[in-house]
């Protein structure tokens, strides 16, 4: 498999919405 690692996730809001089976990314997080 390909793997999206944590370096590439930095400064993004990463949302795991298991109930609705979706994953979200929002830029400029951590503020």
């Amino acid at each position: 498999v390909g793997i999206i690692g944590n370096v590439q996730q930095k400064r993004f809001d990463v949302v795991y919405d298991i109930t609705n089976s979706r994953i979200g990314f929002g830029a400029n997080g951590c503020s």
């Binding site: 944590n6 930095k10 990463v14 979706r22």
Partner: protein, 404 residues
């Protein structure tokens, strides 16, 4: 720095990690503070300065472990038993090498522990006393006999059968988690109050009270499992938090991010479908469909990605791509970086640059495009892995095999 559609332009100085924690002490009371395990904000006492080459070597070991685990996961229980035998200790991966840690409280009265958080595994565990074999950790061991709310789980409880690997001792359920490098946590399966934040106090949380633990966990007290299986933190708290959690990993080791259970998503979040796999029930899969470099999409067939599949992991450091996808990314990136002198490769990273003598650097943007149109425009700090000014490397790597 400045950003255009095709390039990031930043000060060279900003590439290097700070030596002082810039994160405010008082964090948001509704979120767990996430910090890099080796940075100045970490509650763990720094030991030796991290050897980045060693960290990347451990990262490859984790990826080897994930590949092996997934390729043989049709029978998980037998696979777990065979993993330690099949993968040499030197190349096996530990799920515990995750780089980010959070503080959580166990028991009543609550005691605080620093644990690595990991979306690639399920069971939460901490080292407990009395301990038969524990590695050194920063905080005192958790002593369940001193917690008024701790309970053992009996062998015949349905909760015991949620474990991938369990055994019975004097009527008490024991768990065992074996990792590919022979890292291990073993102990009694119990429940106690878990305090995530002052407003998130969770009674009867199931976790492992480890009394035989070894591996690459550093000084952390244990691990917070955020995978998809029923025993994970997320699954246990699904009814309370609606099956939603989120995190943000800080851009530098001298700043902090957050881990939050429940709640709504920020308005700028774009979603992509999550792909669940019944044969690989711990992991979060998604559809990577394209990669853009410098604002232009690379010529990669979608089947290159769909044949391999893609998972999202908080514990793997460097993104791994199918070989042909990585070759295309590397080729375009190098074309757009010809103004800089190349530097020798480092560990798993083969596209490195020497920025010595530059005040600013201009680096092409990189975007990962997912099914449904969600795009992750990789932050500048996620494009280069900077060892020092004379060696900054493209922070992506290729898998060995197209079917990996």
């Amino acid at each position: 720095g400045r950003e255009t559609e095709s390039r990031h332009v930043v000060s060279v100085r900003s590439l290097l990690p700070g030596s002082v924690c810039s994160s405010p002490r008082d964090s948001n009371p509704f979120m767990l503070k996430v910090v890099h395990r080796h940075g100045p904000c970490s509650p763990l006492t720094p030991g030796q300065k991290p050897d980045y080459t060693e960290l990347l070597s451990q990262d490859q070991a984790r990826v080897n472990w994930l590949h092996h685990w997934i390729s043989t996961s049709s029978n998980q229980k037998s696979t777990r038993a065979s993993l330690a035998a099949n993968i040499p200790a030197s190349s096996g991966g530990s799920i515990g090498t995750g780089n980010y840690v959070v503080n959580v409280g166990f028991g009543t009265p609550t005691k605080e522990f620093t644990v690595v958080f990991d979306t690639g595994s399920d069971l939460t565990w901490i080292q407990c006393s009395p301990c038969r074999s524990c590695y050194p950790q920063q905080q005192q061991l958790f002593d369940p006999s001193r917690s008024s709310t701790y309970s053992n789980i009996s062998c015949n409880s349905p909760k015991c059968s949620q474990l991938d690997s369990s055994s019975c001792l004097a009527g008490r359920c024991r768990y065992e988690v074996d990792y590919g490098d022979k890292s291990q946590s073993e102990g009694f399966f119990g429940s106690d109050t878990l305090t995530l934040t002052p407003s998130d106090v969770l009674p009867n949380f199931l976790f492992g009270c480890g009394d035989q633990n070894k591996g690459l966990f550093g000084q952390a007290a244990g691990l917070l499992g955020l995978g998809r299986q029923p025993v994970s933190l997320v699954s246990q708290l699904k009814s309370k938090y609606g099956g939603v959690f989120s995190y943000c990993l800080p851009s530098t080791s001298s700043s902090s991010g957050y881990l939050k259970l429940g709640g709504g998503a920020p308005s700028n979040v774009n979603f992509t479908p999550m792909r669940a796999s019944s044969s690989q029930p711990s992991f979060y899969f998604l559809d990577l469909v394209a990669i853009e470099v410098g604002g232009k999409q690379l010529p990669i067939s979608q089947t290159v990605f769909s044949n391999a599949g893609t998972l999202l992991d908080s514990g793997t450091v460097i993104t791994r791509l199918p070989p042909s996808a990585y070759a295309a990314l590397r080729s375009r990136f190098r074309q757009l970086m010809t103004m800089y002198k190349m530097a020798p490769p480092q560990s798993i990273l083969d596209t490195c640059y020497d920025f010595t003598g530059n005040d600013t650097v201009s680096v092409p943007t990189v975007a990962l495009v997912f099914g449904g149109g969600a795009t992750l425009n990789v932050d500048f700090t996620g494009i280069l892995y900077v060892f020092n000014m004379s060696q900054a490397c493209l922070a992506f790597a290729g898998n060995d095999d197209a079917s990996d």
